[in-house]
Symmetry: C2
Subunit: 329 residues, 2 copies
């Protein structure tokens, strides 16, 4: 396989709604990409087929052959067994239980395929090419419909015994809080994710509280998203502001835990909600200063991600390349 | 400094009540040790003086000179800045704020001195010589009056940006729980430590509840310790059993977080309370199986420490030796 190290990687990021495929040459930049719908409800074989067809199309349109690739790297939401290339369970992909995804893709496309959790991939991507370049110890959280986590310890992606490490979103911070389908209660994700923000806003509206949100969604509570809540808050809506302040509080509590546990140089916040700097991130930062030990609170920079929604494919490509070099990713 | 690698280390473990000093030759076994009281209330200079005199006595009684040592390693409770050799704050050593302990000892005894958190030292000790030999990823928790934590990632002690990583005892798991002097609320330590067990037992007795504990301590609630509660529980006392079940519950919640975050091969429980297998550890183990993701819950062995109260000096010695070899500990 001489020369394979310099060969491009086909990187894939599978989320609950979209599959992103990308060609990533050795210099790490994304050469070409494509986005298709996940349509998880159609079942595993259908999603895998859609993924492979998107890959075939992208490889062909870039005048490449699969035999020219260094490998395929797949970033996927959920509890991933990296060693076995299996999705053990994935809240955003209903019915995906113990799916040998790496093997399924490898058999179809005849290329070495590696599977890694999407937030771990994002952490690796941001470390190699984004906000965390040159940082020794960092923790990345993706703040979206769920909350994922990835850990860089001593400059390397930390994956744990099975490759499932980093489930910081499922860290219980309020044991008496709402139940999470993950089998526990009051985790960061059920309290501070986009889904949690929507759930809390809807709950309060159903309690008869007044808010401009009602009008914004034409009276249909089902139309509320984290973005609607943000917009309402920016327009001065009291309920929306309180709902975001609540999420920021829980985010701050979770981040203080992360800071006390990891004493990282940097925490990187990515995902759709990381842009709510004044409404979500700043108050969370202040809470870290209050709740974490000064030695660790003083050492950490809480930054936002730079690679946007491409962090996963950047990281998946780096993962393949470093695994391919015989280095532990 | 040829030959220093083979030279013995003087290892020290400073806790809230005792200072242990030990001579640890290159083979890692503890050759000789001594225990003196900490008497933290007498102030920093007095404790440092007592530590140095204990060291001088032990070195002399072993026919050694300080110039023959590879170094001095100090394990100390609290938020430690390992890089600077400073105790930044230590709940068990009142008034120890930003104390440059390594420098103070180095200047007095004229030997290279390294400082590390006591639970991190214990993790390193158990990894090199105890229950965690050969394990790649492990987390150690010391269950005593407080709850300390140490992390081995990829076979190496993980210390974070300043050397303060591993404060798992100060991870908030019930944000609405009791305040911790560390500046946060409802952390594992305030809910599941020996101190927490005593606090809960005393609270219930003061509420007028009946228990054999009252008689055991001659009516003086101040005489209750975690050991008294254990003894009462073993004799079938309902209140004592409930108090321990409560601590086990919180311990299980905290361990599930650790398992989801680190996906470790092993969690090692040390400290005085790790011996309460049936009353504390087994129920906590069952809760991990219920609350953590199966991929990680299935990969972890929750074991008890092997080196007893010597884990700190074993680890402090290994820390000096590995730092002395130019390897990052």
């Amino acid at each position: 396989m001489t020369g394979q190290r310099e060969a491009p990687v086909l990187a894939v990021d599978i989320g609950g709604t979209k599959i992103m495929t990308a060609i990533v040459p050795a210099d790490g930049r994304v050469l070409a990409k494509d986005v298709s719908p996940t349509l998880a409800g159609e079942g595993v074989p259908s999603v895998v087929d859609r993924l492979c067809r998107a890959a075939e199309k992208l490889v062909k349109s870039n005048n490449l052959k699969f035999t020219q690739l260094a490998g395929i790297g797949i970033a996927c939401a959920g509890a991933i067994n990296t060693g076995r290339g299996m999705v053990t369970v994935s809240p955003n992909l209903p019915g995906w239980v113990d799916i040998p995804l790496a093997q399924m893709v490898r058999e179809r496309l005849k290329v070495d395929t590696f599977l890694v959790n999407d937030a771990s991939a994002a952490a690796l991507g941001e470390h190699r090419y984004g906000a965390g370049k040159g940082v020794k110890h960092l923790v990345l959280l993706t703040l979206g419909t769920g909350i994922g986590g990835g850990i860089i310890a001593d400059g390397r992606l930390y994956l744990g015994a099975s490759g499932a490490a980093g489930e910081i979103g499922h860290m219980t911070i309020d044991v008496n809080g709402p139940e999470c389908p993950g089998g526990h209660t009051g985790c960061l994700e059920v309290l501070a994710s986009g889904t949690a923000i929507v759930r809390e806003a809807v709950r309060r509206l159903k309690n008869g509280e007044e808010s401009s949100l009602t009008e914004m969604v034409g009276g249909k509570a089902g139309g509320i998203t984290a973005e609607t809540v943000e917009k309402a808050a920016r327009n001065g809506d009291g309920l929306a502001r309180e709902v975001l302040a609540r999420a920021a509080y829980y985010l701050g509590v979770g981040l203080a835990n992360v800071v006390n546990i990891f004493n990282p140089e940097m925490v990187i916040l990515g995902g759709g909600m990381a842009g709510m700097d004044d409404l979500l991130i700043d108050p969370a930062r202040r809470l870290v200063a209050e709740r974490a030990f000064p030695v660790s609170a003083g050492a950490v920079k809480i930054a936002t991600a730079r690679l946007g929604n491409e962090a996963g494919v950047y990281g998946a490509a780096a993962f393949v390349r470093e695994a391919g070099k015989g280095r532990k990713p």
